[in-house]
Every structure is written in structure tokens, then in C-alpha cells.
């Protein structure tokens, strides 16, 4: 018999599913929730921390009400995705990974959204906008601001 009993590993994919669930509920991973999840899954907290920092999908910081992902996949890159990013940076006054002071928007880049035929594209929350030119961005931002009032 082993001196220290090993808990059985969680079922395949269970750990990521748990992190996704917390992230979906709170928009980020609050510490309390992670401690709770570690107990529930019977894994060390460090394992959750390590996974949470490994993947791009998770954040420890509270996020804006809307998340903008600017795609910088190859097709978007060569068709001007960077310009969309620059325009958003100056319009919102934030860099990728940051959230606007009013907590309306978090700006992120992503390595590919798989909408390459429509490049360049951005995604706001779940909505993808393709064949995008920078001059359409203000209208898109306005739409999400408008949803809040």
C-alpha cells in the first residue's frame, strides 16, 4: 500500500470544463471560486493555477462588460488586422489585455478566429464582424454601448 494515498484523477476534460464554467459565470476566475473548485475536483490549487495561467482564455482580473477580440491570424494580419487594433487602441485608450475605465470594453488580440475568408475580422462577445474596415469600428462600438442604456 502506498504511504500517501493518491486521489483519483478527475475525469477527462473535467478540469478545463470547471475553469470554463467559472469564467463564464464571473467573466474571470475569482480566487475564492478557484479554491472551491480545487476541493471539488480533489486537485491541488496549484494545478488549477497552473492551467489558468497557461491558457489564453482565462483571466484573474475582472473584465469589461464586452470583450473585443481582434484577430491577428495570418490572413487578418496581411489584410490589415493590425490597423483595426491600432484604431481600437486609440479610440478606447487601452492596450490589449486592458479594460476601459468605465468597464465597458476589454480589448484582446487572438491568434486566429478561423474566419480567415472574411479577413480582417474582430469578435465582440459572441458576434464576429468580417470584411472589416477601420471606419466601421465606431458604429460597432456604439452598438454595444447602446445595448447598455
Amino acid at each position: 500500500m502506498p504511504l500517501i494515498a493518491q486521489p483519483p484523477p478527475p475525469a477527462g476534460g473535467a478540469l478545463l470544463a470547471k475553469l470554463h464554467a467559472i469564467n463564464a459565470e464571473h467573466g474571470y476566475l475569482p480566487e475564492e471560486e478557484l479554491r472551491h473548485a480545487a476541493d471539488e475536483l480533489n486537485v491541488p490549487l496549484s494545478q488549477l493555477y497552473s492551467a489558468a495561467t497557461f491558457y489564453a482564455a482565462f483571466s484573474f482580473k475582472p473584465r469589461g462588460r464586452h470583450t473585443i477580440h481582434v484577430c491577428l491570424g495570418t490572413a487578418c494580419y496581411i489584410r490589415g488586422g493590425e490597423k483595426l487594433l491600432e484604431k481600437l487602441e486609440t479610440t478606447l485608450g487601452v492596450k490589449p489585455g486592458e479594460t476601459t475605465d468605465d468597464r465597458a470594453f476589454t480589448l484582446e488580440t487572438v491568434h486566429c478566429l478561423g474566419s480567415c475568408s472574411m479577413s480582417p475580422v474582430i469578435r465582440v462577445n459572441g458576434d464576429t464582424y468580417g470584411r472589416l474596415k477601420a471606419d466601421r469600428l465606431p458604429r460597432i462600438l456604439k452598438k454595444y454601448r447602446g445595448q447598455e442604456t
Partner: protein
């Protein structure tokens, strides 16, 4: 109902046929992610609301992607007794007009792209009244052969009945009721199918190794972690035809003796996750997953794992460890997963497209499949033809076509008529091939010999406005960020190569840097632990090989021939052309442009970030890039 037998499948099939080919008006809107990105949801709503307002009896369907993304949103109108017409670039306004026309019994000519021929009961004569070509006669489709994408854009992906109506689940019934696992493997072996994830390992051989490996339980995994930027074939299949992948995975499970399968889907593909989750639930409900499928005694279930945004997880050992415990780090091979994979057990891991092909091979036979393509490169592959090309979209062709057939024939040449300079295949693991090699036939071997790879199927076209040094730097920026950091050559080497490339694009590079770059690239290629690091130098090595003149222009003349690298260009407004419309002034993110209305504007070079936004928006072409 539960499906126990072939006759139960017949019941599903009849149901599917009734919605695939109804006797009333049917409109299908392409609503995979690419359609949605260009306004398909607004089109769908407009069609629905206008039809309701006019009291038009209509069956309205959200279908998947037909592949011709350039023409999205695509709307397929099937009016009984009339040609089935595909409309392109639909808008909400035009959708309302379309309904008005249809209510009058008319098929409008505006926006009509082609007539879709139907397998079942082809309309007599098939001579479109308006002189429209058949869909399969358009240059974009003429050389295509759809096996993997057979149902994409033609069925309602949420209805298994329609999948069955187009031949689905016959293959699973056949293997479970008529074939032994070994006979199933033999069929796939005989077909010559090679893994469509990129490496091209024979699928049947992988299955055989896993089948023969000691150890229980065994697992099968579908790799849907399509991380290559510029590629979206797997997303399309998962969104548009999820049952083909589920059926293929179930057959793989039977062949190797696994009872548990996993489908790992990238986090960036929320619609794919939704569709495949829904499809697995429906298959369970019907007994097409679960205990004793077709009363054969074979049990099989599928768990869906959603990735979380890590490119390296597309590497099979990293993907496996991501399923096991959350962290996606690769491990050395051998042992290969076929003998020691998930939790150390024999595991087959196949790409989405590979698995979607399997049911067709079983149904049509190994010989049928082996006859398509060329020797050692049987079957079809799907490419995502994107970038600076006229027709973007998903293209499925038999292996052996040339790059020119793809880019000029199917793709229609460069975007806006510009000259195509290169094509990038295989994502960050691949390379850039110059236009003079476009007569190469596409196969795993030819592309590798030329310094690129087939990869999962990304094909990014580049024109004279693309700087190849900047592209190399882009890819190294990508692999540097996505390197998991476990092994030193990849972690440090990608960073170092990126540093050198940054120096070069900033005009600070020296001729010696090119040799240094090449040397580091060879180290990283040789010494890295997994495929990510081993192939990360390919974009550098291939551009150095074919576009050395561009590197030399950067380091010797401090000039960027494509006019891309910011430190090496200047933007000026030509006063004789500028109309003073003020558009550039409004769009400039740096506030570097000034000028009075209707008078020539000027750019302040101190403030200008050389983003070229003004160049893009100027309606009269007054902005000059000084190289």
C-alpha cells in the same frame, strides 16, 4: 425513438428527405461563422419577418458553409418545380425583395450566382432559364471534389435525419453488423487514407498499431484544436456536418476496441462546440451512441472537451495532457499515443477531416477512395484559400492538382488584380513558396521538398504588398508566444529569431544577421522537443531560401521593397492629387494629418506611425508610400 437496426435508419432517412426536399418553398441561409460574420443573421431575420408579413408559406433553414465564403451570405432558394438557385452576397434589404418576388412566384435574377443541381430527382433538362451556370461549373467549384465537405451547406446541421438522408450512418451500421474490427481497419488501410491533420501518417496503420497494442481501456480522440492561423476547415466541418465526425470517431472506436471517445474543440470556435455538443446529445438519444449500438454489443460514448486558447494543444501529446489534467504540455515521442496515450493507454488521435472521411471510405469501399488523387496521395484534401486572393473560401480537391490550379484557377488570381508573389502553406509550421514554383503538384512530399508542408490545409496567398521578412517575423512572434516553454531550444530559440527579425525590419540588421538567423533556425529545428519547435523555423528558412533579395534589401539598402516595414517607409500626401476631403485626417489614429477643408493636407512625419490607414481610406490615391 431508438435506432436498433437498418430499418430504423430508413425511418430517419424518410424523415430527413422530407425536409431536405420538401414539396413547399424552402430557403436555406448559410449560417456557419463565416456567413454570420457577414450579416447572415440579419438576412435570416429579414426573410422570416417578410415572409410572415406576406403570409408566404416557407421553410426557412440555417445551414452550414458551402465553402464559397467570398460570396457569403449565401442563400439557397428551392421552389418546387423550379431551378434551385443560389443567391450571393445577400443583404437584409435584398432578402425582403427576394421574398416579395417569390410571393409572386418569381425567381429574381439579381444576385443569382448559380443553379444547385440535386442528386435526388434532378429537375428535367436542368437548363436554367436565366442562363445561370450550374454550381459545379463555376470556376471556383469546377475542379473540386467534395468528400469531406459532402454535406456542408447542404443540410441542416442540427438534424441527424438529414445527415442520414444523405447516406449517413450506413457505414457505422455496416461495420457493426457486417465487419470485424480487423476488417474495418483493413478497409481504411486499403484506401490509402493519410492523416489530414498535416503529418500524413497512414490512418489505417495508426489504427492497426493501437488495435494490436496491449493495455486496456483504449481511447479515441478527435483533434479539433485547429490552431493554425489561416485555416478553418475543421471549424467548418464541425459546424456544418458534426455527425460525419461523430460517425467517423465511433467507427474508429470500434476498429481499435475503445469504448470512450473525446472530441477536443478549440475555444475560439464557440459555434462548433455548440453544434457538436448538440449532435452528441442527439446521437445518444437515438442510441447511435451509448450501449450496444445497433444491438451489436458495441458500447461507445463521446465526451467533448473545450480547449482554452493554447496553440500547442493541437500537438497530440499536448492535447492528451490537456485532457488529462488541464495543462497542455507536449512530451517526447516515442512512445507514440497509439501505444501509450491518454492516461498511458493505447490511444488513436485523428484529425476532424480524417474522421469525416472514414464513413465514406467504408460506404464506397477502399478501392473507390484509393482511385482518387495520385499514388501514395489518395483522396482529397481541404484547403482554406485566403489572404490576397480573389476568391476566398474552402476548397476540396483531389491530391495532385498544382498550386497554380488552386490559386489562379479556383482562386481567380490575386486580389484586385494584383500579382501574386507567394503562397504560405501549413501555418506557422509551414513555409512560403514563390510564384515560380506554382506548377508543383500538391502532395505531402512535394511541399515538404520545396521547404513547406501540407499541414492542416491553410493556404494564405500573398501579393506584392506583402513583405516576406515581415511575414517571417509575424510567424516567429506567433510561435514565440505559443511556445509552451518546456524545452529550451524552442523557448529561447524562437525568441532569439524574433529578436533578429525585429532588428531587420527596423532597419538595424546587418548582413551577418542573415547567417546568424539561419544558424539559429537550424538549431531550433534539430533540438526542439515537439512539432511546434521543430517546425517553427520553417517560415524563416523558406523565406531566406526564396526571398533572400528582400532580406538583403532590408539589411543592405535599409529598404522594404513591399513598403510594409514602418521604420523603412515614409508616407506623404501628393498635393496635386489631394482634394482635401479630410477622410484621412479623420481616420488617422495618430492625429498626424492636418489641413483645411478642400485644401491639400499634410502628414507630420514626427507623429505618423506609418500604419497606412490613410493609404487605405484615401478615395483618390493621393497617399504615396516612399520606400
Amino acid at each position: 425513438m431508438k435506432v436498433h437496426s437498418r430499418s430504423d435508419l430508413e425511418t430517419l432517412r424518410a424523415d430527413g428527405l422530407s425536409t431536405l426536399y420538401p414539396s413547399r418553398l424552402k430557403i436555406s441561409v448559410g449560417m456557419a461563422t463565416c456567413g454570420l460574420a457577414t450579416g447572415a443573421a440579419a438576412v435570416y431575420d429579414a426573410l422570416r419577418d417578410e415572409a410572415a408579413a406576406r403570409g408566404l408559406d416557407l421553410m426557412l433553414i440555417a445551414t452550414g458553409c458551402l465553402g464559397y465564403c467570398q460570396q457569403e451570405p449565401l442563400v439557397d432558394v428551392r421552389m418546387p418545380g423550379r431551378d434551385r438557385v443560389l443567391y450571393a452576397r445577400m443583404t437584409a434589404d435584398r432578402a425582403r425583395e427576394l421574398i416579395a418576388d417569390l410571393a409572386r412566384g418569381e425567381l429574381p435574377a439579381e444576385g443569382a450566382l448559380a443553379v444547385i443541381p440535386e442528386e435526388k430527382e434532378p429537375p428535367a433538362g436542368l437548363e436554367p432559364a436565366g442562363g445561370l451556370p450550374l454550381l459545379n461549373e463555376l470556376p471556383f467549384y469546377a475542379r473540386q471534389r467534395k468528400i469531406i465537405l459532402r454535406n456542408c451547406g447542404l443540410i441542416d446541421p442540427t438534424r441527424v435525419e438529414e445527415y442520414v438522408a444523405r447516406g449517413g450512418y450506413q457505414a457505422l451500421a455496416h461495420v457493426l453488423l457486417d465487419l470485424t474490427p480487423q476488417e474495418t481497419i483493413d478497409e481504411v488501410l486499403g484506401s490509402g487514407l493519410r492523416g489530414r491533420g498535416g503529418a500524413g501518417f497512414p490512418t489505417g496503420r495508426k489504427w492497426q498499431i493501437c488495435h494490436d497494442a496491449p493495455g486496456q481501456p483504449k481511447y479515441v480522440i478527435c483533434n479539433g484544436d485547429e490552431g493554425d492561423p489561416g485555416a478553418y476547415m475543421d471549424r467548418t466541418v464541425l459546424e456544418s456536418d458534426p455527425y460525419s465526425v461523430i460517425e467517423g470517431l465511433t467507427i474508429a472506436g470500434y476498429a481499435i476496441g475503445a469504448r470512450q471517445g473525446y472530441i477536443y474543440v478549440r475555444d475560439e470556435y464557440p459555434l462548433a462546440v455548440e453544434r457538436v455538443t448538440q449532435a452528441v446529445a442527439r446521437a445518444e438519444e437515438l442510441g447511435l451512441l451509448g450501449d450496444s449500438i445497433f444491438d451489436s454489443g458495441f458500447d461507445f460514448s463521446i465526451t467533448i472537451v473545450r480547449g482554452a486558447g493554447a496553440f500547442v494543444c493541437g500537438e497530440e501529446t499536448a492535447l492528451i495532457s490537456s485532457i488529462e489534467g488541464g495543462l497542455g504540455e507536449p512530451r517526447p515521442r516515442p512512445p507514440f499515443p497509439a501505444t501509450s496515450g491518454l492516461w498511458g493507454k493505447p490511444t488513436v488521435i485523428n484529425n476532424v477531416k480524417t474522421l469525416a472521411t472514414v464513413p465514406v471510405i467504408i460506404s464506397e469501399g477502399a478501392d473507390w477512395y484509393a482511385a482518387i488523387g495520385t499514388e501514395n496521395n489518395a483522396g482529397t484534401v481541404v484547403f482554406s484559400l485566403v489572404g490576397k486572393v480573389a476568391n476566398t473560401g474552402l476548397v476540396e480537391v483531389p491530391l495532385g492538382l498544382t498550386l497554380r490550379d488552386m490559386i489562379e484557377g479556383i482562386g481567380g488570381g490575386g486580389l484586385n488584380g494584383k500579382a501574386v508573389k507567394a503562397v504560405q502553406t501549413g501555418g506557422p509550421s509551414g513555409g512560403c513558396l514563390p510564384a515560380r514554383l506554382f506548377d508543383l503538384p500538391i502532395s505531402y512530399e512535394t511541399l515538404t521538398q520545396a521547404g513547406s508542408i501540407m499541414g492542416s490545409g491553410g493556404m494564405v496567398v500573398m501579393d506584392e504588398d506583402t513583405c516576406m521578412v515581415d511575414v517571417a517575423r509575424y510567424f516567429l512572434g506567433f510561435t514565440m508566444a505559443e511556445s509552451c516553454g518546456k524545452c529550451t531550444p524552442c523557448r529561447e530559440g524562437t525568441r532569439y529569431m524574433h529578436e533578429i527579425l525585429t532588428r531587420i525590419v527596423e532597419g538595424k540588421g546587418t548582413p551577418e544577421d542573415l547567417d546568424l538567423l539561419e544558424e539559429v533556425a537550424r538549431w531550433v529545428k534539430t533540438a526542439s522537443l515537439c512539432g511546434l519547435g521543430q517546425t517553427a523555423p520553417n517560415p524563416v528558412l523558406s523565406t531566406l531560401r526564396y526571398f533572400r533579395d528582400e532580406y538583403e534589401a532590408h539589411v543592405v539598402e535599409k529598404r522594404c521593397p513591399a513598403g510594409v516595414c514602418r521604420a523603412l517607409i515614409r508616407l506623404v500626401i501628393q498635393p496635386d492629387l489631394c482634394t482635401g476631403c479630410g477622410l484621412c485626417k479623420r481616420e488617422c489614429p495618430a492625429g498626424a494629418i492636418s489641413g483645411e477643408k478642400k485644401k491639400p493636407h499634410v502628414i507630420d512625419p514626427e507623429l505618423c506611425t506609418r500604419c497606412r490607414m490613410c493609404y487605405d481610406v484615401c478615395p483618390v490615391g493621393a497617399i504615396e508610400i516612399v520606400k
